[in-house]
Every structure is written in structure tokens, then in C-alpha cells.
Symmetry: C2
Subunit: 136 residues, 2 copies
DNA sequence: ATACATGCAAACAATTTGCATATTA
DNA sequence: TAATATGCAAATTGTTTGCATGTAT
């Protein structure tokens, strides 16, 4: 899944291709890590000085609805990256810069038998740390 | 670790034992699940009609600092439960009422070899679902 | 032309802070 | 009495919404 695929999905759903939308999505794609609305704004404002948070949030909300982005909370602030479409997997996440590394195993296999009478709707597994560059 | 232990730790750190603090901490203890600041307020306001969010947040912040509570984010809202002191473990969490069940395995054992040059500071593993009572 | 997008300003909700007063040790 | 806590009000931060205008189809 690349930039063009995402835009095609949006088009197919009736959403329009605007300069701002392209810039926002490209900006998220460019980083292989989780970015906040604020980081996206700073990035995109170079080209679109008038661009504001509403537009970013509205676009993030559409992308989220269509599951085209993955969302994570870092102390009360949401950060986003484009969804991976490879098979189900988990991440090692740098808590400083948001950088991610894909983990090779899903731990759910260990736990199939322990959910009791819960109706499982999802799970989250993330390892946090500092990447090489952020270890100062 | 019970209520008295927590109060003793606070006392030892120079924090004072007030009626409100006791009520807040007791209210979190009483529920074996994650509760929000709002839920704590509603609970405790019966006995302390004047009690306000600032006091709850200030207390949660102290408890968090001392790692006496565990925190989780449910769509932008923080929820808390008293820390478990048993050995390291993970939870099955009901996304509707915050109820938790302790899981018997930590998946980190599967993944020791894959962290590369990350300096690991922590990990999170949670299974989400609906508990029996919330499946309507 | 019509529907969807944007930008502005204003609204919101969760959380935090300054300050005067009250309470604990 | 000295240090910490509380309550109030107001500020802050992240996010959302109403509305008029602009732009893509």
C-alpha cells in the first residue's frame, strides 16, 4: 500500500483530492514513525501557510474511519502513522521520536485459552524504548 | 499491598493524610477495574460535596509519580487502578466498564532477541474485549 | 452545479496552575 | 507554626464544530 493506493481509496469513497489533503497524507507517509497533529502541521505549513488544525484533524478522522492510519496515545496526545497492510504484527516504538520497528511475533498465540467469557475485540502489544539516535 | 500500605508510603514521603485523599484512594481501591477522574469524582462527591477535579488530579499525579497507580488511555481519557504488586503481568481489559482480568503469561519472553539497538524501557500488552456483563 | 473541503472563530473536554484559605503533623 | 492540601477560578492543551466561502468533480 502506497500513497497512490490511499488516494484511490479516498476517491472511490467520494472524497476529493485537494492539495492540502495530498500534502497531509504525504507528510504522514514520509515518516516511518508515529507523528502528532502538531508535527504534521509544522511539516505541511511550509507549503500551505494558512493550513490549520481543523483540516488536519478532519483528514485524520477520515483516514482513521477507513483504517488507513494507525493511532497511538503518547501521554494524552494522539500520534499517527499510515497503516501497514502486511500481515498482522506489532511494533517496537521509540518514545522520543516515534520511530517504529516491526516485531516478528504476535504474542496472542500464547494466550488463546485464557480469555474466559470475555468477547475479545482486539489486543495491543507494544515495546517501548529509545532508538539508537535518541539514546544521547 | 492494601490501602494501609499506600497511606504509609505517602506518609513516609511527607504527604499528609486528609479526608479527601483517603476517600479518593479508597474509591480507586474499591473498584477492581480502571476508573476515570470523573468516576472518582462522582463516587467521592457523595461524602465530599465540595470536592473538585483539581484535588483528584493532584492526588492522581502524586500516586502516579510514586507508581502507586497504573494508568491507561481510553480514547483520550485516562483511567486508573491501584498498582498490583504481584509479579509482572498483563491484563485483559473490558473496554466498556474497565474491568480487568490478569493474564498468566508475559509475551516478552518470545521477543528477547528482536529489540536490536533499542534501549527498551517498557512494554505494554493488553487484550481488549467485553466482559460477560457488558456483552448485553 | 453540487458535494465535499477549507479556514476562521468559537466551543469543548480533559487536565493543569495560581492563589488565598484551611488543615495536618 | 510550618508545610502540605484544598477549593475556586481561570488558564492550557488537544480536539471538535458551525458556518461562510472555496474548490474538485
Amino acid at each position: 500500500m502506497d500513497f497512490k493506493d490511499v488516494m484511490d481509496i479516498l476517491k472511490a469513497k467520494g472524497y476529493k483530492v485537494t492539495e492540502q489533503r495530498r500534502a497531509i497524507i504525504q507528510s504522514i507517509f514520509k515518516e516511518n514513525r508515529y507523528v502528532s497533529a502538531k508535527e504534521i502541521l509544522y511539516e505541511v505549513q511550509h507549503r500551505f501557510p494558512g493550513l490549520s488544525f481543523d483540516t488536519i484533524y478532519r483528514n485524520l478522522s477520515i483516514l482513521s474511519e477507513l483504517e488507513l492510519v494507525e493511532e497511538i496515545q503518547f501521554n494524552g496526545e494522539a500520534k499517527y502513522k499510515m497503516s501497514c497492510t502486511e500481515k498482522h504484527h506489532h511494533h517496537l516504538v521509540c518514545t522520543n521520536c516515534g520511530k517504529i520497528i516491526v516485531l516478528p511475533e504476535c504474542p496472542m498465540k500464547l494466550l488463546k485459552d485464557f480469555v474466559g467469557d470475555f468477547q475479545v475485540t482486539g489486543h495491543r502489544f507494544e515495546i517501548y524504548g529509545l532508538c539508537k539516535d535518541c539514546q544521547e
